[in-house]
């Protein structure tokens, strides 16, 4: 029942006193506007967004304080000051390391994950359950467990992998690989198998069917996976921190973590804001890709994407 019809149903009783009517409608119509819940929701959103806005503003602080704005707004801690985000050599190299790690992770984790999801969806034999279980286990494992375990295996067992970029990429891929699997599997359940069957009936070999039918149908999920894996790995600092070697292998996220406990300058806020801008851009690109790939299909917009997360 829509809200409008419900309101029409209760609107008949006009001669009752207003307060009593409201009370009556409150009892009769459970789909009335719940003011308290609405207030809680907006209060929650304000609570979740205002601190971030303050943190972004502080990155434009001209003063040295990271607690309050002093002396106006500007790009002092972005590029003017010698210790600013784009001038400090340490932070500069950290930016490149962040990009390097997340691009490498994305390029390795997404193909492995997509193939894994396709295989798992079709494989009906013994072993598929165990493979699925292991993948899900890696998904729910708290990151500290995974980070410490990866550190131990690389530091004491697989010692041919040096701590640093290689180890970090290996760790990130392990942590991220389950995202594409989950996203692509959800999409596999939604797409109709008859397109593939039609292609095979028309004589397409399995490989061509996968390349020309299945992959295009999965492309929205693949776009979403690229965006999520990139955004998640550029922000990661738990796994990456344990697996970093020399200071040059520490990406921006680890620098932010390390500096945040001292008395940081607004350059650290600038670094965090930069990460936020980068991930937002990638998520928007991923979403546009998702929209383009689902053009003409019944889709649920943001809600569809939200459902996939």
């Amino acid at each position: 029942m829509s809200q409008a019809t419900a309101e029409r149903a209760t609107a008949g009783a006009t001669d009752e006193p207003r307060a009593a009517r409201r009370r009556a409608s409150w009892r009769r119509n459970p789909w009335r506007k719940p003011r308290i819940l609405e207030a809680v929701t907006w209060a929650y959103l304000a609570w979740s967004i205002v601190p971030l806005t303050v943190a972004i503003l502080i990155s434009f602080n001209d003063g040295r304080s990271n607690a309050s704005i002093q002396g106006g707004l500007g790009f002092t801690w972005w590029w003017s000051d010698p210790d600013s985000l784009f001038k400090d050599p340490e932070l500069q190299s950290a930016i490149f390391q962040s990009v390097r790690l997340s691009v490498a992770t994305m390029l390795i984790a997404v193909p492995i994950g997509v193939a894994f999801a396709i295989g798992l969806d079709r494989w009906r034999g013994r072993g598929s359950g165990a493979a699925n279980f292991t993948m899900l286990l890696s998904f729910v494992m708290p990151e500290i467990v995974l980070g410490v375990a990866m550190f131990m295996v690389i530091a004491f067992v697989l010692t041919f992998i040096p701590l640093g970029t290689w180890a970090q990429v290996v760790g990130l891929v392990t942590y991220q690989v389950s995202y594409p699997v989950i996203i692509v599997r959800a999409r596999m359940l939604a797409i109709d198998k008859q397109y593939e069957e039609a292609a095979m009936d028309l004589g397409a070999p399995p490989r061509a069917t996968i390349r020309r039918i299945l992959i295009p149908l999965l492309s929205p999920a693949i776009f979403a996976s690229f965006a999520i894996v990139f955004a998640d790995s550029i922000d990661d600092f738990v796994t990456v921190r344990y697996l970093s070697g020399p200071a040059t292998s520490e990406p921006l996220s680890v620098k932010i973590y390390n500096f945040s406990r001292g008395s940081p300058t607004p350059a650290i806020n600038a670094a965090a804001t930069l990460l936020m801008v980068a991930t937002t851009l990638v998520v928007v690109l991923g979403y546009l890709g998702y929209r383009a790939a689902t053009r003409g299909q019944r889709r649920e917009g943001v809600q569809g994407l939200a459902g996939q997360i």
Binding site: A67, I112, A115, G119, M150, F156
Partner: protein
């Protein structure tokens, strides 16, 4: 149970023949081969690392270098690290374990009440257009890093930060409060702020799926809105509540960074901090491995619940 599963598999075999249409017979290894890279990766970099943690926890330590030596064969395991860690867990570190439990329980409870209210409002009481906007705002923390969100509170809660400025301006406190100097309330606030988005979305997805007709039936049978909520909506959303509680409490148990960023004081140390401290100290890495195992034992029930419920959901589809 096992006979039912066998029966299901038999039916599946009969109803879904291996042979593809068009006469193309795919070899049996065709689809499994797609999972091969993933399986090799997970074996090498997920299963092996976990076993390494066990082998180090029950292993020995190099007498000179103080580095742990993993012992792979269970029959040669030594339990000296384990007994030492358990002694500490029931001795000097017992407040840390109790505190971790307390923080996680309080923070999850606050997240649940607040998150449920928000998810319920968005799922039940919004127009399509407004819902899209609200969902974007609710999803945004997913791609704004945890660090950024903690950093924001470091900025706000400093002695000369805006929170203290407002509090002293309103004469609520005469002097600025040292929020970041080892206060439980700050750490719990950080945990709630950090993990509540992970609770709202699954709750929203779950509440959105509840059939409106069931609620109308509850109303038609004479239930007040409140009793309909408590006797229909709430029982129906129980699996969603449990799943989202698991989703937030698992990472909270392993959290150390909220604490180091927002407090840094031994007054608020959590299990994660013990692990983080010992992994960074030469000679104590075996202890870190044992602590990881203890953490895993604590978390085995929620993890098991999560895996079982996702398996059930997959079967239901």
């Amino acid at each position: 149970m096992s006979t039912r599963r066998a029966e299901r598999q038999r039916i599946r075999r009969l109803t879904e023949p291996e042979a593809a249409p068009g006469g193309v017979n795919l070899p049996r290894w065709f689809w499994p081969s797609f999972t091969l890279p993933g399986i090799v990766w997970l074996l090498l970099f997920f299963v092996l690392p976990l076993y390494t943690v066990i082998a180090i926890a029950f292993g020995t330590v190099d007498p000179v270098l103080r580095t742990p030596i993993p012992v792979w064969q269970p029959w040669w395991w030594t339990t000296s690290h384990m007994t030492e860690a358990l002694d500490k867990a029931f001795g000097i570190f017992s407040p840390v374990y109790v505190r971790t439990f307390l923080y996680v329980v309080v923070a999850s409870a606050i997240s649940l009440v607040l998150g449920y209210a928000v998810a319920y409002f968005v799922a039940r009481h919004t127009s399509r257009r407004k819902r899209a906007l609200l969902l974007i705002l609710l999803i945004s923390p997913f791609w704004i890093s945890y660090l950024m969100r903690m950093l924001a509170w470091i900025n706000l809660l400093q002695p000369e930060g805006y929170v203290n400025e407002i509090l002293t301006f309103l004469h609520i406190t005469p002097e600025p409060i040292g929020w970041l100097e080892g206060r439980s309330i700050t750490v719990i606030l950080g945990l709630v702020y950090g993990y509540i988005p992970y609770m709202i979305l699954p709750l929203y997805a779950f509440l959105d799926r509840i059939d409106q007709n069931v609620l109308e039936a509850g109303r038609d049978l004479g239930g007040s809105p409140v009793s309909t909520f408590f006797r229909v909506t709430l029982p129906l959303s129980r699996p969603g509540i449990l799943a989202s509680l698991v989703i937030v409490s698992l990472p909270m148990f392993g959290d150390y960074f909220t604490n180091t960023m927002l407090s840094g004081s031994p007054n608020t140390t959590m299990i994660g901090n013990l692990i983080d401290d010992s992994i960074n100290t030469t000679g104590q890495q075996a202890e870190a491995a044992v602590l990881i195992l203890i953490l895993m034992v604590i978390l085995i029930v929620p993890i098991w619940y999560y895996l079982r419920s996702t398996a059930k959901a997959a079967e239901a589809r």
